[in-house]
């Protein structure tokens, strides 16, 4: 995925396990925007999202020995770590207070309100592929991938059967895969 490819993922992982700081700098340059985009989508607060981003990268650095490339891609691991950290922030008292002051809604609404955010970015020219996604598929991917909601929670929130949640998810992902191949 990184546009100016300097390291392969394998090299990058190797160097990071060796605690190479220039590799970490490269990691930040290539992944900070996409992680920040997700955090911002969940929190809807620039300053707070930057705090969480900072915390996430420090944690990625400190816990890098926990990453196991057999279990998935580096980005998936970083995203899960970042998402969990963001969810912790949402559940913390400070965030609740802040979101009240801002007259903001809860995280679910934040996500569904911002489902069109993708349209305002044209990173890597992917936007045109995303239009292939139906809005209901998009909604499920957003809730699961960005919101950290479980299938059960999504099923209750959207008031659709669990089986439907699974089907839509798979369809959405296969649409994304088709889009990538084009």
């Amino acid at each position: 995925m990184p546009e100016t490819k300097k390291y392969s993922e394998e090299e990058l992982v190797y160097l990071l396990k060796e605690r190479d700081q220039s590799a970490f700098s490269y990691l930040y340059d290539n992944y900070s925007a996409v992680l920040y985009g997700i955090i911002f989508k969940m929190l809807d607060n620039r300053e707070l999202a930057e705090d969480v981003l900072q915390e996430a990268f420090v944690k990625i650095w400190n816990n890098f020995s926990n990453y196991d490339s057999i279990k998935g891609r580096l980005f998936t691991w970083m995203l899960n770590l970042t998402r969990n950290l963001t969810i912790d922030t949402i559940r913390s008292k400070g965030y609740k207070k802040q979101s009240k002051i801002q007259n903001s809604d809860n995280s679910v609404n934040t996500i569904s309100d911002n489902t069109n955010t993708a349209e305002s970015f044209d990173a890597l020219g992917i936007r045109k592929h995303l239009t292939l996604l139906k809005s209901d598929q998009k909604q499920i991917i957003d809730l699961a991938y960005f919101g950290g909601f479980t299938q059960d929670e999504i099923s209750k929130k959207l008031d659709i059967p669990l089986g439907t949640v699974k089907t839509r998810m798979r369809t959405a992902i296969s649409e994304l895969r088709k889009a990538l191949k084009n």
């Binding site: 930040y28 925007a33 985009g37 970015f121 992917i126 992902i173 895969r177």
Partner: protein, 275 residues
Amino acid sequence: MNKEDIISSGLLELYALGLTSPEEQMQVEEGLKLYPEVRQELEAIELSLESYAQANAIEPSADVKNKILAQITTGEASNTHTEEKPKVHHIPGEDSKLLHQNIYRIPLFFKIAAAAVLIALIYSVILNYSYNIKYENVKEELTDAQKKLKENQQAAVAMKDQLNVISDKSALPIVLKGTTKEPDALAKIYWVKNSGDVYVDPTNLPEAPAGKQYQLWAIVDGKPVDAGMITTKNGIYHIQKMKSFGHAEAFAITLEKDGGSPTPTMDQMYVISKI
């Protein structure tokens, strides 16, 4: 589960989204280890999701990177490796929220020192305890010794009094001899003439039976006058001070009931003397 089952089950999609249960996660990870095809399929799913995430990317402020790099650099310098909360060092203008997450590590030296202090403390407590037991024992012995010394001193004082009486030049020793009732009985009286004090030494009187007591009488103008009770109980046979008489013709000792009688029981007279 074989590789086709894993791929067609939809578990890989859930896994990539972070939605699998712990059991499902174990199944998927097992498949990933065993089959390269499963690994490839997962990678394709992950890449598709990454591209979606990439479409939502937003550039954060430029200073965030510097903050992070400063944080990990200082973290490396002190060789800390925290799991949950990273060590944060102060950077001017940094959000104070993160500063509260500082973890102050205790150097190994202090841990060892603390352990040593603890061991010393435990040792000291044990010593204190054993010394305290010894102290209690010694204290008890000392009390016993003091008690004995006091008794000895009292005995010494009593003996000195007796000696004073016996050696007093003005003390007139009078021997009371046994009567026909008790020919072997013997008592001694020391009569200090200038003061009139009368002391009796009952050493050679037979032990008084239970409920009975010896009583000393002075014969004044032909009549017996009570001169006091003699203690012979508990084996105390020492010189005792009796009532004082300026003038008496004779002394006698009779066995009376405990506490004495107003007049002597004549047939119970043990010893008598004439002056």
